[in-house]
């Protein structure tokens, strides 16, 4: 589904990603872990199409298409979803209007009829249950005055509404209490299928107790330096990132 080859990206002249290689197939969950500043969020941002980042080398194909060639909105319409680390508050834009615009633009791109108000509300009600989100929240401006947990739940709710094939969760767990973490993870687990894939970007192993990954990759200094299964995540939880840093840094000095 997603194929990343030798991806290099920089921001304001600083190279953050230095040759990422990653293959994600339908039905898989990949966890990307790593210490702060290793490039995890940059990778998520580059995949979603954030303009500040400049891709200097490499290629990314998504369902056979050159992903890097697509505008952010077209990536979303193709089925890439980024759950933001810091969801943006947008005063004056109602959550419901925003979602309806988004859903219908995505549907139009996929050759589907737009949803009328009734069908849209029915779909909304159904998906709201998934993330236990309150109707009251959605009658407010988008994310405005939401707590951290509410914002993250709203991200997963939007994901449920847009039905992506590839979901990228960028530190969705950071700042969540156990209860919110459980709700968010439940939502993600219920949405996964044989046809979809998920990339979970996280600093902590904790989330992976709830969303069990098929593969775990460790990102450090802009490269994937170690890949394994969920046991790798356990090892990281126990030993921290220092041993990996040492391993990589000693190789670099040789």
């Amino acid at each position: 589904m997603l194929s990343i080859k030798n991806l290099h990206a920089s921001i304001e002249g600083n190279e953050i990603l230095r040759g990422i290689n990653l293959e994600v197939k339908a039905g898989e969950i990949h966890a990307i872990m790593g210490p702060n500043g290793s490039g995890k969020s940059t990778l998520a941002s580059v995949l979603a199409g954030r303009e500040e980042y400049e891709v200097t080398e490499g290629e990314v194909t998504f369902k056979g298409k050159d992903l890097l060639d697509l505008a952010p909105e077209d990536r979303a319409r193709e089925g890439v979803f980024l759950a933001f680390q810091y969801p943006v508050e947008i005063p004056g834009v109602s959550s419901t209007n925003f979602l309806r615009t988004a859903v219908n633009q995505v549907r139009e791109y996929r050759g589907l009829e737009p949803l009328d108000a009734v069908k849209f509300l029915t779909l909304m009600k159904e998906k709201m249950k998934l993330v236990e989100i309150d109707q009251k929240l959605l009658s407010r401006s988008l994310n405005e005055g939401f707590s951290g947990g509410e914002k993250k739940r709203n991200e997963i709710f939007q994901m449920a509404m847009l039905e992506p094939t590839l979901s990228i969760l960028d530190e969705t767990d950071s700042g969540l209490d156990i209860d919110a973490l459980r709700i968010v993870s439940n939502g993600v687990n219920q949405l996964k299928s044989e046809k979809t894939a998920t990339i979970v970007v996280t600093h902590y192993q904790r989330l992976l107790d709830y969303i069990v990954p098929d593969f775990v990759h460790v990102l450090y200094k802009g490269r994937i330096v170690k890949s394994g299964t969920k046991e790798l995540a356990m090892e990281l939880e126990e030993k921290g990132y220092d041993w990996i840093k040492e391993e990589v840094d000693s190789q670099a000095t040789v």
């Binding site: 952010p72 995505v106 847009l162």
Partner: protein, 422 residues
């Protein structure tokens, strides 16, 4: 020196002015001649060189004559959903035969009210253009709302302007609102044709005690219109005056809005949007004068500027020594969509009282890129995402319009503008 030539042109206009309101006109004439047209360095017109603009664009310094407006014109010009009474004007001249007779409200030509103290609210000494209007206006309209009248439906002041050859249109409006009354006015002008002309409007509002006046204004005239307006109101005890001004078009527009809070527990609210493109230049100068204790003023103007447009905001708040317990809030926010667009914003607070709450702030920025990306990342195309954000930005002002049909009309004009290439 060229400005002087214009002054001479206006002087001949003064000589040819109608003979009624003699003392009122003489006073204004003296005031106008003493002030002259604003010079290039005039502080109040620093960013809006209207004198030069008139120099370039106005060729004929005679009043534009009334012309035949038909019922069809009116019908096609009134916005969809409007439910109220319409007063029709042609080049500033009131057309009684096309206008509604509104029950309980007196409407007459100013020339029939020669005893009126015109200029006692919008004093000619404050501004040369107000003085020019007062010295030379052809005729105007007098509107009086009696005491204890809840005028439920809005009154639309609908002006048709067609001044070929760059002539002058000088509407003059006097509104009286009785004690305990409430009324809503919508002020709208329609340009017939694309020619350049100069509108110099003065509206004076004399509110009663415990009266509530809503004055909404939309400026969406021809691209070549040059306009100066002065709206001034005295706000009495327990009264409110709500002004919302939406500017969407024109060549050079200067709006002077002056609210005088003269009775305690009075409230003056000033809201505005300027959504500009091309080379349109819109200058909003507002002035709220707190002269008594326990009064409140609120102000929010928002600007969205594309292309080479220019916005000017100057908000003066005076809090006189006696005006203790004043609440005065002012905010001006701007979004520039182009490198060539300009905003000059200046809050100006002069406070002599010591027990007051006043705040002001102004911002000039670009569209929030992070918010834009967020919307795009959900599949919304960039143009539409921009439109959503800008519409939300303007929405805070739009919601101040209490007349639903008019709010929706303004909203649709704004949405239409934001949805296009802008």
């Amino acid at each position: 020196m060229s400005t002087l030539t214009k002054q001479d042109s206006f002087s001949s206009l003064i000589e040819a002015a109608p003979k009624n309101f003699e003392s009122v006109r003489t006073l204004a004439k003296v005031s106008y001649l003493a002030q002259g047209l604003p010079a290039v360095k005039a502080e109040e017109y620093k960013f809006t060189n209207i004198s030069k603009k008139l120099e370039q664009k106005i060729t004929d310094f005679s009043p534009a004559l009334p012309f035949a407006v038909t019922a069809e014109h009116v019908k096609s010009a009134v916005y969809e959903g409007f439910d109220g009474d319409i007063l029709v004007f042609a080049n500033g001249n009131f057309l009684p035969e096309l206008s509604a007779k509104i029950e309980g409200i007196e409407v007459s030509l100013l020339s029939e009210k020669s005893e009126l103290a015109l200029g006692s609210i919008a004093k000619p000494g404050k501004d040369a253009f107000a003085a020019l209007n007062q010295a030379t206006f052809q005729d105007g309209i007098f509107i009086s709302v009696p005491k204890k009248a809840q005028v439920e439906k809005p009154i639309l002041l609908l002006s048709f302007d067609q001044a070929n050859g760059g002539q002058l249109i000088q509407p003059r409006v006097w509104i009286e609102v009785g004690d305990l009354s409430e009324v809503t006015f919508i002020d709208q002008s329609i340009s017939l044709g694309e020619s350049s002309y100069f509108v110099n409007e003065v509206v004076e509002v004399k509110g009663g005690v415990s009266s509530h006046v809503h004055y909404y204004r939309i400026q969406n005239e021809g691209k070549n219109v040059i306009e100066v307006s002065t709206i001034e109101a005295d706000i009495q005890k327990d009264s409110t005056f709500n002004s919302v001004n939406i500017s969407l078009s024109g060549d050079m527009v200067r709006n002077n809005l002056n609210l005088n809070l003269v009775g305690s527990n009075s409230e003056g609210n000033m809201y505005g949007i300027y959504l500009l493109n091309g080379k349109t230049h819109v200058d909003n100068h507002t002035n709220v004068d707190h002269t008594i204790p326990h009064a409140e003023s609120n102000e929010l103007y928002k600007g969205i500027l594309a292309d080479q447009s220019r916005g000017v905001f100057n908000g003066k708040i005076f809090v006189r020594q006696d005006a203790q317990k004043t609440n005065a809030f002012q905010q001006n926010n701007n979004i520039l969509l182009s490198e060539d667009a300009t905003v000059n914003t200046k809050p100006q607070l002069e406070i002599w009282a010591d027990d007051v709450k006043c705040s002001h702030g102004c911002t000039v920025g670009q569209l929030d890129e992070e918010a834009l990306f967020y919307l795009q990342a959900r599949g919304i195309d960039k143009l539409q995402a921009k439109g959503l954000l800008l519409h939300a930005f303007a929405g805070e002002v739009l919601e101040k319009i209490k007349t639903e049909s008019f709010r929706e009309y303004c909203d649709s004009l704004i949405q239409e503008r934001l949805g296009s290439k802008f």
